[in-house]
């Protein structure tokens, strides 16, 4: 009997030894795989940085080229204009006719350069929006009135339909002027008779704008490509001035930047309607939007960004003790303390419902820790001087790009609710 047992034990020991060996080999294999993965991550990171550097080179290149193109354009335009104006001697009617043609094409070249530059900035994520709360109805009215003479000259009726009790949206004024101008200009180009209607209506959370015409319409096969770059449609049918082919693409990119939507409804000979929406934001949403823009810009430009999320301890207890109004005011006050103590002009603060944020573009994670500690000290000092803030305990967490997240979503998730 014992011999059986001994044999069984020996067998099991052998199996155990083999299993151990297999585990060791497996472990070694895992370690090697791990190392390989880390190496691949490093390579990916390197390639990413190279791509970003290449992107910046492309942007710098386009900026330089556009500058180099604009300078001779200036002299050409001014010189022609001066001859045309008679500054350098009398000119004949025929000469002025040809000079006018030159001027018109110089202006066309300039618009093309402007569009190319904007396109490159949009693609590089370097197109800056200066957003404010703008009355879209008032803006649309201004732009439409600018088109009255042109519409009258071509016998097209200009209609306006404004139905918005809350017409304010958080937008970049110049961009929206440009979009309306682009769409109405296009409508005029492709409409031979009938009318063009510009409308602005209220929707929950957004302002919906539309430019509708009774013009030539767009073939439904061409609609999917409409917002692509350098597509010109119906060229063979028009004698009116040609565009750069970038207008709609730039328009769409700008609407995307505003987090709005744009779409078109059209059929051949049945007219066209372009509709776009612009988001409405209240003051706090404006701050959140601004934060999202800062995050987006940092990622697009490959520049570090740190956000410090400050908490005041048990916010519910503070609200019970001080009342919700005073509690919110305390948060705003503490955010201001941070704002006053931040050194860089580009640094900002956002006061939320329960927490407040310090937004530090260009600051990397190690430096952000220094800033966070320094701010904590300032806050603690401030709290010590205010009796009703007793019980407020300051702590912070740092969220940095690229260390804590590589995408807008990841960074926003790390920040969480505030």
């Amino acid at each position: 009997m014992t011999q059986d047992w001994e044999q069984k034990c020996k067998g099991l020991e052998a199996e155990l030894a083999q299993a151990k060996q297999e585990i060791e080999i497996g472990s070694w294999g895992l370690t090697k795989t791990n190392e390989a993965i880390k190496y691949l991550y490093k390579e990916l990171d390197k390639k990413n940085k190279e791509l970003q550097a290449l992107d910046r080179l492309k942007t710098d290149f386009i900026n330089t080229v556009s500058h180099e193109l604009r300078t001779p354009l200036t002299t050409i335009r001014e010189a022609i204009a001066q001859v045309f104006d008679g500054i350098h001697g009398q000119t004949t009617v025929a000469q002025r006719d040809f000079l006018l043609m030159c001027l018109s094409d110089v202006d066309r070249l300039r618009r093309l350069i402007d569009d190319l530059l904007d396109m490159s900035k949009l693609e590089a994520g370097m197109f800056k929006l200066a957003r404010q709360q703008i009355d879209i109805v008032a803006l649309a009215r201004d732009i439409v009135s600018f088109f009255y003479p042109a519409a009258k000259a071509t016998n097209i009726e200009l209609r306006e339909r404004y139905n918005a009790t809350e017409p304010f949206a958080y937008v970049d004024r110049d961009s929206i002027v440009r979009i309306f101008t682009n769409l109405i200009g296009n409508a005029l180009k492709f409409t031979d008779k009938g009318y063009i209607e510009v409308s602005v209506i209220d929707k929950p959370g957004s302002v919906e704008c539309a430019v509708a015409d009774t013009g030539r319409g767009i073939d439904e096969n061409e609609i999917p490509r409409l917002f692509n770059k350098f597509e010109q449609f119906g060229r063979h049918r028009g004698t009116k001035e040609k565009g750069t082919g970038l207008g709609l693409s730039i328009t769409k990119s700008i609407i995307d930047l505003h987090r709005g939507k744009i779409w078109v409804e059209s059929a051949l000979d049945k007219g066209t309607t372009f509709t776009f929406t612009l988001p409405k934001y209240n003051e706090q949403q404006v701050q959140v939007e601004h934060l999202r823009d800062v995050i987006r810009d940092a990622i697009r430009q490959g520049v570090p960004l740190s956000i410090l999320v400050f908490s005041t301890g048990d916010i519910d207890a503070h609200r019970r003790r001080l009342g919700p109004g005073r509690a919110a005011a305390v948060i705003r006050e503490l955010a201001q303390v941070v704002k006053q103590n931040l050194r860089r002009q580009s640094d900002g603060v956002i006061a939320g419902d329960a927490k407040f944020l310090a937004v530090l573009p260009g600051t990397d994670k190690p430096r952000s820790v220094n800033v966070g500690d320094r701010m904590t000290q300032c806050l603690v000092d401030h709290i010590a001087k205010n009796r009703d803030m007793a019980g407020v305990e300051i702590s912070y967490t740092g969220v940095s790009y690229p260390e804590d997240g590589q995408t807008e979503k990841e960074i926003e998730e790390h920040i969480g609710e505030f």
Binding site: H67, R70, T71, T74, T75, E78, Q82, I87, K128, A130
Partner: protein, 122 residues
């Protein structure tokens, strides 16, 4: 007496067309091709207005403007900055350095003349 304008640009052609236009409008024009020459001529010519290009070798337009605005003798002279960049950031920087006006190339002549008239009259 005719108002004197100092035009500063490293591009000879720009100087030539600007000078022709301004003289046709009745202004007296003196010129400089770089920042250093500009600072010298401000002292010797005492212009009523300066048109200043931004992109220049050695000292750029921003630096010239900054130095002029810091100098008590010259800070009252209006400065119009001329640029081929026209980006919002540049305009802000120009204004921060003390420029009185800003116009982008290729400039609208009527606009430039309007700005000059507004700053010094005819």
């Amino acid at each position: 007496m005719a108002k004197k304008i100092l035009v500063v640009d490293d591009e000879q052609n720009i100087i030539k067309v600007l000078q022709a236009r301004l003289e046709a409008e009745g202004y007296e024009v003196v010129t400089a091709s770089d920042g250093e020459e500009a600072l010298q001529k401000v002292g010797t010519e005492k212009p009523n207005l300066i048109i200043l290009d931004i992109m220049m070798p050695k000292i750029d337009g921003f630096e010239v403007c900054r130095r002029l605005k810091r100098d008590e003798t010259f800070q009252h002279i209006p400065v119009v900055m001329l640029t081929a960049l026209g980006q919002a950031a540049n305009i802000k920087e120009g204004m921060e350095k003390g420029a009185d006006a800003y116009i982008a190339k290729p400039f609208n002549t009527v606009a430039l003349l309007g700005i000059i008239q507004g700053l010094v009259g005819r």
